[in-house]
């Protein structure tokens, strides 16, 4: 989007704020015939069309098509327009607006939609409830549950479907507790049968003992709807294991249910890939030979005992590791799931163990809980013995490979965490999610298959690991590339690791033995992914002792974006780091209503600016502020000061080190309504090779409803003037540790001669008093700015030091901002190492002026 596009869009929104009467009654339905060109905006409209569409929302004949176009236009402005339209539209179009916000899953719309769930119009209420469920998010479930207690039974179906949707969304976000609470409610007979069935099926996906109990209860109990839901579960691929298990004990079911299960068994067409078909796919993807020949014939124990959630990909894993060994001759696999496999005399025959999606306490009998105490004690003795055997096996110089859920085995046994170097935390990315991959150690022999972009992304269930995991304990080969992976707020809320490190493959040592973990193995198709198979072959050969490889822990966080850059996200800040140093940080402190950069630094972390200097604590490094709006002071932190409310619409950052922020800022006097709204876009470029970067700063200001006066402390030559008068706007305050300042402007002036003189740019370079590092910051004034070239405001008091400069648009006169006539101010800030020649700055200014103009002419 061009700057001008954004500005125009904003203007449209402002027109909408004041100009949209709730005129339409029931437009959009039959009787209003839409013109074909309206569909063009659905398919190709952009943010710059938003103002036009907002206007059309006010026209009964055009509102419906405009609403649909807004649904299709990407970006926050279209959403903001739709949110505004909740209040400004009526009838069926309003229902459509709510539907659109649901389709877009707009979290910001929740508050406005919630009251509509209880309105009389059943169509609108239904739309509202559906949208609430679709948008979901923490707390929404409770809102819906609460609604359920207030709405009459006629609306229960809509609400039930929405609650189910909400539970699904919540679970996908990792909020399993809230999801489960909703599902439990939905099982109640007051809900329609389909809703109950959906809730039941969703409950089954949690797996484990509760799911087994619920299934058993449904199949044997007297609730026909739940029995039917149970059959639906058995009929789907996820229920196949349970169905086959029932085949042997049909007689234990009530007669009515026997027939249902038998019918399903007899249907025989259990969907899903047959073992033969999966094996064929795996065979086709196998590497033809191993990277290194085995030093001697190797035997691998492929072990799949599993309780709780049983991955239905276990047979795929058994086939894959057996076939890998068979095809390459690297090992002979023995597939087992019995306890005897881990007795000493059995283990002695193996060179390595592979835990194939094992889960939970696999050395205990399945019915451990129900055993008499004596048998429980006996089982615990076996459990302890087999655990010790496993540790001894690896420590004595043999190997352990683990895939996917294997890391969740023995959850109550800390030593297993030490053995494999991590514990299972949760899965922020549910099954079927795609994440981008980063090869952390391309030179490592076990990472050989992953090199050279062989493996840019994977679709699977992606885990988060808990302590003792850390890069100081294991050598990470592959991890999630967060910079290239979209992270939803729900996933974000499931993150527990402060380091945001999601390893997918690593190796480590244990005693004299070796351990390999790979996180893949939920989706079946990873088992016939040739890259995964080669990687597993290498990993298993490593643990068997045939492929030598370094297990020194990675120790430090793996590399980040190019040049060691990394992003660091705080609750209301985003920083670009280079290694441990912050290059820049944007803070949008909603609590105090201020937006500023601090620090602004060089690539080596040398800070150049000063936050809250004691002489003027309201100076904020690099920031923008008005002095007076309608006579109210926004500049200083003084009693009666004006207030600002920040709403960050958009924060995007790229792997290259560039970022864009979009936000609205409402300015209001204490106790009053907002009088001025700003749409601010801040675009920060990636640092170039020399370490220079640019911040393009665009603020568009619109008076809300009536004219406002932007003013400043008058300069000395005006009545009531002060020697320090005239400042306001985009400002830089240089760091305490700077010296040897050279201030210059575009017209050849230097130092305080620049003060109050119009200039196209104002610049200061300087040296750090501590390190001697030289750097500079220029502010370029765009030719389209209303008072361009703008007078500079310059302070240079070396003793404090107090070095401040700013293009000050109000220096010579206040400005009346008319309602409906937005004002846009554009600046570029250039931060560079070393001193800068005027000619270089002149070129920079020219490029800035040309670039912005070019984008305007594209309109």
């Amino acid at each position: 989007m061009t700057r001008r596009g954004r500005a125009a869009a904003l203007a449209g929104l402002f027109l909408a704020c004041g100009g949209l009467a709730a005129a339409q009654e029931r437009p959009g339905a039959a009787g209003t015939i839409e013109a074909a060109q309206d569909r063009r905006l659905e398919r190709a409209g952009t943010t710059r069309d938003v103002p036009l569409l907002v206007e059309r929302l006010g026209d009964p004949a055009a509102a419906e098509a405009a609403r649909r176009a807004l649904e299709c236009i990407p970006g926050e402005l279209a959403l903001a327009a739709l949110r505004d339209a909740i209040g400004s539209t009526r009838g069926v179009v309003r229902t459509g607006v709510v539907n659109s916000l649901g389709v877009r899953r707009d979290r910001r719309a929740l508050e406005a939609i919630l009251p509509l769930a209880a309105v009389e119009d059943p169509e609108l209420a239904g739309a509202a409830v559906a949208a609430l469920g679709r948008i979901g998010g923490p707390g929404t479930g409770r809102l819906l549950v609460d609604l359920e207690t207030r709405l009459d039974a006629a609306r229960r179906a809509d609400l039930g479907h929405a609650m189910l949707e909400c539970a699904v969304v919540l679970r996908a976000a990792g909020d399993e507790g809230e999801a489960e609470a909703i599902l439990e409610i939905l099982l109640h007979p007051r809900f329609p049968r389909a809703v109950r069935a959906g809730a039941f099926l969703a409950q089954m996906e949690f797996g484990g003992e509760p799911a087994r109990t619920l299934l058993e209860r449904a199949l044997t109990g007297g609730d026909e709807d739940l029995a039917e839901a149970a059959v639906r579960h058995l009929a789907r691929p996820a229920g196949r294991g349970a169905l086959l298990a029932l085949a042997g004990r049909l007689g234990g079911l009530p007669a009515a249910r026997q027939e249902r299960v038998a019918r399903l068994l007899a249907a025989g067409q259990l969907e899903g890939r047959t073992p033969a078909e999966e094996a064929a796919r795996i065979r086709a993807a196998l590497p033809s030979a191993s990277r290194v020949p085995p030093k001697k014939p190797r035997r691998l124990l492929v072990y799949s005992r599993c309780f709780g959630f049983v991955h239905d990909s276990i047979p795929s894993g058994e086939a894959a590791f057996a076939l890998l060994g068979e095809r390459t001759g690297a090992w002979t696999a023995e597939v087992r799931d019995d306890l005897a496999a881990f007795e000493v005399e059995s283990l002695r025959r193996f060179d390595g163990v592979l835990l194939n999606n094992t889960n939970n306490a696999i050395f205990l009998p399945e019915d451990f809980e129900s055993l008499p105490p004596a048998e429980q004690r006996e089982a615990e003795e076996i459990d302890a013995r087999l655990k010790k055997n496993l540790l001894d096996f690896v420590a004595s110089g043999r190997g352990l490979a683990v895939i996917h859920a294997g890391i969740a085995t023995f959850r109550e046994w800390p030593e297993f965490g030490t053995l494999i170097g991590a514990r299972f935390e949760n899965h922020p990315w549910n099954a079927g999610s795609t994440v981008a991959l980063k090869v952390d150690d391309p030179a490592h022999p076990v990472a050989a298959a992953l090199r050279d972009g062989a493996f840019p992304a994977i679709t699977d269930e992606i885990y988060q690991l808990a302590a003792p995991y850390g890069r100081d304990r294991v050598r990470v080969l592959l991890s999630v590339d967060l910079a290239r992976t979209e992270v939803t707020p729900e996933q974000e809320s499931a993150f527990r690791r402060a380091d945001r490190d999601f390893p997918l493959s690593y190796v480590k040592g244990y005693g004299r033995g070796r351990v390999f973990y790979n996180a893949f193995g939920h989706q079946h198709d990873v088992f016939w992914n040739p890259v995964v198979l080669q990687h597993w072959l290498d990993g298993v050969q490593f643990v068997l002792g045939d492929l030598p490889a370094d297990t020194t822990p990675s120790a430090r966080e793996a590399g980040a974006p190019p040049g060691g850059l990394a992003w660091q996200e705080g609750p209301s800040s985003l920083a670009l780091r280079k290694e441990e140093d912050i290059v820049w940080q944007l803070v949008h402190d909603e609590a105090i209503g201020k937006v500023y950069f601090h620090p602004v630094a060089l690539l080596d972390g040398t800070p150049l600016t000063w936050l809250n200097p004691p002489d003027h604590v309201w100076h904020r490094s690099l920031w923008f502020e008005w002095k007076f709006i309608d006579g109210v002071n926004y500049w200083e932190d003084v009693p009666g000061k004006g207030l600002t409310a920040i709403d960050v619409l958009d924060t995007t950052w790229g792997p290259d080190g560039s970022a864009v922020f979009g936000m609205t800022i409402d300015y209001r006097p204490p106790g009053g309504e907002p009088v001025l709204r700003e749409l601010r876009w801040i675009e920060v470029s990636a640092p170039d090779a020399a370490g220079a970067y640019r911040i393009d700063w665009t603020g568009t200001f619109a008076a809300l409803g009536r004219d406002v006066v932007l003013d400043r402390t008058p300069p000395a030559d005006e009545p009531g003037g002060q020697s320090w008068g005239g400042y306001s706007g985009l400002s830089v305050r240089l760091a305490k540790e700077t010296r040897d300042w050279r201030i210059a402007d575009s017209e050849g002036r230097t130092g305080l001669n620049c003060h109050r003189q119009p200039a196209r740019w104002i610049h200061a370079d300087f040296a750090r008093s501590d390190t001697g590092r030289e750097a500079g910051i220029a502010i370029l004034d765009h030719p389209a700015n209303p008072r361009h070239p703008t007078p500079s405001f310059v302070v240079s008091q070396p003793e404090q030091p107090f070095v401040y400069y700013s293009p000050a648009p109000l220096f010579d006169a206040p400005l009346v901002l008319r309602a409906g006539e937005p004002l846009t101010l554009r600046y570029r800030i250039l931060i560079h190492p070393g001193r800068a020649a005027p000619a270089d700055l002149e070129r920079e200014w020219q490029a800035f002026a040309d670039q912005a103009l070019a984008s305007d002419s594209n309109r």
Binding site: E42, C72, V92, A197, A235, A256, Q258, R260, L264, A267
Partner: protein, 455 residues
């Protein structure tokens, strides 16, 4: 406390339960007997136009199904279908009479009936997905005519709904229930042709000879005329944009070719050969990763879907596919086998097999009698597409053409349509199920629904 009186489904279950120890149902045993009415699957027929009329006898012939309701916004069409149903059942009733089929204008009324187990959706294309999702939420199983959705996002929403509620879904691509098609696919899947290299799939386009000629002449009237009596045009439009009523827009063939209501035969007929291509390639779960389409669109007239096309695709497994309308395909097809206006051909390293509704052909005729061993891939065996659906409603097993498969074959049609309209090739990301690296194209995977409709 349960407020609801026992439904028909409860009765089915209760009746079945009385027969302990369990007895396999007739469908599973493959023997015919006419079950008592309480054991029959009750069907609502939604859409009483050309396709709905053609489907009716297929379902009337099933002893364990009973059509109990019809629905169409054309009064005359729904009444005609109701008469056919009552006449059909009267023939086999001892009394020679049958009553008990209701006719509805609004599908929501039909879906609200507790005594309907499943619905058969044969509406204009733009209604398939919205009605199917509503039906599944109402607890019904669904037989859905092709093509699937007006937009890929609609398809995805339907798939999620079917999975969430555990509904039985059958896609109206009946070729999967034909032995020849299955045999051709099994030859391809088991490597009898050698490694599969490429596929040709073709079908009638807008301007194909025969039935479709009417639509190609004049391109359809755009002159608005009054909506006829006895026709609820607003409901017919439903989620589609409100467009003027014209002579051809709602005719039995016309709606297939108007972009507001369909993406045309590239999907509506293309679904058949593409469905078989996907089955034989073993790619029911994924669409090709690369799609480049060339085609034409009428310069004027009402019919503004793709008229004829030549779409080149490449799958992640390296197999390529050429998907064409019949006229464009004719020369290429005639070069190796007798021409028919539709078909799918699999080319492997050792030879080819080609199949259409008229026959099956192979470069090595011995393959046509090939028998497969126990370790070979055996595809789902269904001898009757409609009986397969009704049987699955009873057993809850998955039907031969699942919603997952339907989504992917329909995606190919959509990608072809989008590529032709934008004039450049597309890259499809099968994992993320979106067009990669091309936001303008990816947007066309979604269409908003007209108020107040939602999925």
């Amino acid at each position: 406390m349960r407020q609801r009186p026992p439904s028909r489904r409860d009765l089915i279950r209760a009746a079945a339960g009385a027969a302990a120890p369990w007895i396999l149902p007739s469908i599973a045993r493959g023997r015919g007997r006419i079950p008592p009415p309480s054991e029959r699957v009750t069907l609502g027929m939604i859409g009483a136009g050309g396709r709905g009329t053609w489907l009716l006898p297929q379902f009337l012939a099933l002893p364990d199904a009973q059509c109990v309701a019809v629905c169409d916004p054309f009064t005359d069409r729904r009444e005609r279908l109701r008469s056919s149903i009552e006449a059909g059942y009267a023939e086999r009733a001892p009394s020679g009479e049958h009553h008990g089929c209701t006719a509805h204008n609004d599908f929501r009324e039909l879906l609200a009936r507790e005594d309907v187990d499943a619905v058969v959706i044969a509406t204009p294309d733009h209604w398939h997905v919205p009605i199917a999702t509503a039906a599944v939420r109402a607890g019904k199983d669904v037989y859905v005519e092709k093509p699937l959705g007006l937009a890929v996002t609609w398809n995805q929403a339907l798939r999620e709904t079917v999975q969430r509620y555990g509904a039985v879904f059958q896609y109206g691509t009946q070729q999967r229930s034909d032995r020849n098609f299955r045999h051709a696919c099994e030859l391809a899947r088991n490597g009898v042709l050698g490694d599969l290299e490429r596929i040709e799939a073709w079908c009638p386009g807008m301007a194909a000879p025969g039935w479709y000629e009417t639509t190609s002449k004049g391109g359809g009237s755009t002159a608005p005329i009054p909506v006829p009596d006895g026709f609820d045009y607003d409901l017919w439009l439903g989620p589609a944009p409100a467009s003027p009523y014209t002579k051809d827009r709602c005719s039995e063939w016309g709606a297939y070719h108007v972009y507001d209501n369909s993406i045309g035969f590239i999907a509506g007929w293309g679904a058949h050969p593409l469905d078989i291509a996907q089955w034989g390639n073993g790619t029911d779960g994924e669409a090709p990763v690369f799609v480049e389409g060339k085609g034409t669109i009428n310069a004027e007239g009402l019919f503004d879907t793709i008229r004829d096309w030549d779409v080149h695709c490449r799958y992640a497994n390296g197999v390529t596919m050429r998907f064409l309308d019949a006229r464009t395909a004719q020369d290429a097809v005639e070069a190796y086998r007798p021409f028919n206006d539709h078909g799918t051909t699999f080319f492997g390293a050792k030879g080819w097999v080609s199949v259409d509704r008229g026959g099956i052909y192979a470069s090595d005729p011995a393959w046509l009698g090939h028998t497969f061993g126990p370790d070979d891939i055996h595809l789902y065996e269904s001898g009757n597409h409609y009986a397969n659906f009704v049987g699955c409603v009873r057993s809850r097993a998955r039907a031969v053409c699942t919603v997952e498969a339907a989504v992917q074959s329909d995606v190919i049609s959509h990608l072809g349509d989008i590529s032709i309209r934008l004039g450049h090739p597309l890259r499809w990301d099968p994992a993320a199920e979106t067009i990669s690296g091309d936001e303008a194209a990816a947007r066309l995977l979604h269409r908003p629904l007209r108020s107040p409709w939602r999925l």
